[in-house]
Symmetry: C2
Subunit: 126 residues, 2 copies
């Protein structure tokens, strides 16, 4: 399977696939005489897993860390990275919740007609 077909199967572009290769996320199984990349049939599965990981918020650097040196996806490594990602999400959730409540308060102050103070004064939340 050449890169174009793999791209069609996975919904990625050929350049994205080449980029992943450069990042150490997957390699073609060989090259044709003319230098074209040849992919094994399981390459698409690998790309699906990468796409799923991205949807979970993992960066390519982190995704690379899910594989062993032999190129297999490691349950142990993945589990550890999953824990880290869970904590990261919880931090972001806390930040967003704080911003949300501060914005609600700001909105109230801005809407308050009686307050003719300069706009910037309304930001004195923090």
């Amino acid at each position: 399977m050449k890169i174009g077909e793999l791209a069609r199967k996975t919904g990625l572009t050929p350049s994205a696939i080449r980029f992943y290769e450069e990042q150490g996320l997957l390699s073609p199984i060989s090259r044709t005489a003319g230098g074209y990349r040849e992919y094994a049939s399981n390459a698409a599965e690998r790309l699906y897993m990468i796409q799923a990981s991205k949807r979970l918020g993992f960066s390519l650097d982190i995704i690379r860390g899910m594989f062993t040196e032999s190129g297999q996806c490691s349950k142990t490594k993945t589990l550890a990275l999953t824990e880290i990602r869970l904590r990261e999400i919880e931090e972001q959730q806390a930040t967003l919740a704080q911003q949300h409540s501060d914005l609600l308060a700001l909105r109230v102050r801005l809407k308050d007609e009686s307050v003719s103070a300069p706009c910037r004064k309304n930001f004195a939340v923090n």
Copy 2:
């Protein structure tokens, strides 16, 4: 007040202040004979408001939109941008909540000793 003093007062660096100027967020009131920026005493307040806005998740581009052409912070514009930011946060919260629950499910599958399936299979969440 010169840039160094303003930087000390606000906790920003001189280069950040120059960058904000380039982005149209604040201007020095004048220049000295030698070309040094001179800031009005309320410049610090403007920078505090910018910093507070950033903590609320507003980008510099958006913050610029809070000011009128005359350079005053507009309640109306700010209110409108606040609404938009609130919706944006809610979207991000939904994304994070989804990722969090998918990761919890993934963790369960990875921990399940009985599943000896290849690691990638566990990602078939989506």
